[in-house]
Subunit: 393 residues, 2 copies
């Protein structure tokens, strides 16, 4: 089983400590699974106390032995009651907590156990730190890209007329797991952001928009999980979109491809080419200093010049206003390629770019590949060719 | 697609309004997917405003048209900015919110938009209301029980020596989806409570405890998702436990069965019989007025009389102190069969009871079935026989 190396954890903790000192905080008390994984390499339940200076302590509620096997850091101790928490904080008065995740009622419990301690929200700081990937992290996303490619091959091989979206989805879900996918996806956003690891959307079901702020929703099987595959049969000569975040060893790779049995209408083929042009533009222009807003505007320009602006990224009032998002331990990381995103990109950002075009009554076509921002432009981490997957009818 | 009928929603909202009046609240502003589903039948993103008296309003951010198709209530309106929220609250001063779920940082945003409004936590009230199921809800859980039975049959049919836990898990995950499972499970607990829909644990991997407060963890594929199936091959003459919450149309049915290729050691067979005796006890004794604590104590008694107390519900310091939990729209509902649970059960509670016995170095055996509490005792909603699944080697 792959463990996160000690030097990787030390690097991450060092960057957090520098940020804490900049903010004038005495330390950070982290609790989310994502943060525990990022800074300790283990998801075992508990808290990580990172003082602004000195050694961090991983205070484990459950399971201590497993945390000790999984985490390369020293300083792993049991903590089974919050009453003992103050003993570990070394008199800190101003601490960072993940207030963008922690429920109000649970925060009140911490306040009772930490009288006189002020808490500031370090959620955005953590998201900024995680948005720049180390070479080790990039290797993880490359591994997920290979698993995604295996998954796509299995989907393309299984595609046949008359099978349902659900049947094809099950093939893809199985292939993805056997290729090493961990079987769950983490989001940062609270609530209303759930998604299956596999979206199979045939023809007009790609226009069944739903609650998450994503271009694809899907009919799903029930209003209780209103997304992903339905029991609609797949027909010839219609686009079949597959969008499947693939998570291996914690790290998300995101990919969309469009397939067809037979042949697509000319306008959809042109839209697919336009999606590819947008990815090529990103490959050239997504480099340090460019902004998410610029890349969004350039994408809209390309869609407009192709006469496809009204089909871009949704339809009606269900259009989304972004064309890409960071990926890492979570599916919705920074940076975002969207209006008002004026923070310059940095080398080491990893972004999933997903230009998609929607045609009411017909379906959608699009692509999504995952890129690494480098000084020379964006390198594709995705390895599946960005081609329409055409199968004989 | 199955929609929640209007009379069902009216009943639920009526019960909530009575509770709000008892608490002296002017209304409740609900935002979680679970609450939206429970009171509107739709998961589309937004808020539900339930005044203590009068008609509720479903204020939809995304997707309005879909919410209108899925929700049988009138009063569905768009709300795309929180700035417009006060217009809908009719001058309410004391409102209930889901403070057991809402992150601190997001709560601050509401406070800015609702000056002069006090918020109280109605999370526990909502959990109490949802703990008593209507006949319509019980039918949903029966449907999920049928899908679980199909899933178990597929698992038993596919089981063979030398296949990995992961390979068997993939068979089960696929069968579960094709039987109608929605592909995701909702938890109430914040963080560190994730789980796959399918746990396959062979031999000693059943003793790989992990971060969630559940008896089964599993090795999983990575510390980043430390649960569920691993790549360990399944051998003859060892217990193979399958634990698979099956969620159909929003409702969870929870089930565990134990299988073996060949033959189990005598002590494990006896432990399996003891697990069945505990389920039989629950069937007789879980009725209105009994408490979760009593049923926990009776379960421990049965384990003790069989000489198995030290094997019950875990091992070492990873033992859990409960033997059952409510299920419904979430996997971790009320009531809980555990120490200190002194609230009497009510007719309409639905509980998953999961006696499990752990043998270090060997493996675990156990059962889990889902029951409906009635005045005459608990009715099994699970239909798969509570037998050891024995396959010829």
């Amino acid at each position: 089983m792959l463990l996160t190396p000690r030097h990787e954890l030390d690097l991450r903790i060092g960057r957090l400590q520098a940020a804490l000192r900049d903010l004038g905080l005495d330390g950070a008390l982290l609790h989310s699974t994502t943060s525990l994984l990022y800074f300790t390499g283990s998801a075992q339940q508990g808290h990580l106390w990172v003082p602004a200076n000195g050694e961090p302590r991983y205070l484990v509620r459950r399971v201590l032995e497993r945390a000790r096997r999984e985490c390369a850091l020293p300083g792993i101790e049991p903590l089974t009651t919050l009453r003992a928490l103050p003993d570990h904080l070394g008199g800190a008065r101003r601490i960072g907590m993940e207030l963008d995740r922690l429920p109000v009622a649970q925060f009140e419990v911490y306040r009772r156990h930490l009288p006189g301690v002020d808490a500031a929200d370090v959620g955005p700081v953590l998201r900024r730190l995680r948005s720049v990937k180390s070479p080790w992290e990039v290797e993880r996303i490359r591994a997920a890209a290979r698993a995604a490619d295996e998954t796509y091959r299995a989907l393309f091989a299984a595609l046949r007329e008359g099978m349902t979206e659900l049947e094809l989805s099950v093939v893809g879900e199985g292939a993805q797991r056997l290729a090493g996918a961990q079987g769950m996806i983490r989001w940062h956003a609270h609530n209303a952001f759930e998604s299956p690891a596999m979206m199979v959307l045939a023809g007009e079901t790609a226009l069944a928009f739903s609650f998450a702020d994503t271009p694809f929703g899907g009919e799903g099987l029930t209003p209780a999980a209103p997304y992903g595959a339905s029991r609609r049969p797949i027909r010839r000569d219609e686009p079949v979109c597959v969008d499947f975040p693939t998570v291996v060893d914690g790290y998300v790779h995101d990919q969309t491809r469009t397939m067809v049995i037979g042949k697509l209408p000319r306008q959809l083929v042109e839209a697919h080419d336009t999606a590819r042009q947008i990815l090529d533009m990103v490959a050239r222009e997504a480099r340090p200093g460019a902004t998410g807003q610029q890349l969004w505007e350039r994408s809209v320009d390309i869609a407009r010049r192709a006469g496809l602006e009204e089909h871009f990224m949704g339809a009606g009032n269900s259009r989304v206003r972004f064309v890409g998002h960071g990926v890492g331990l979570e599916l919705d990381e920074w940076p975002i390629l969207a209006p008002k995103q004026t923070t310059p990109l940095e080398a080491g950002n990893v972004i999933a770019v997903e230009p998609k075009f929607f045609f009411p009554g017909v379906g959608a076509v699009g692509l999504e590949s995952t890129f690494l921002v480098t000084p020379d432009g964006a390198e594709r981490l995705s390895i599946t060719p960005e081609e329409l997957g055409v199968k004989d009818a």
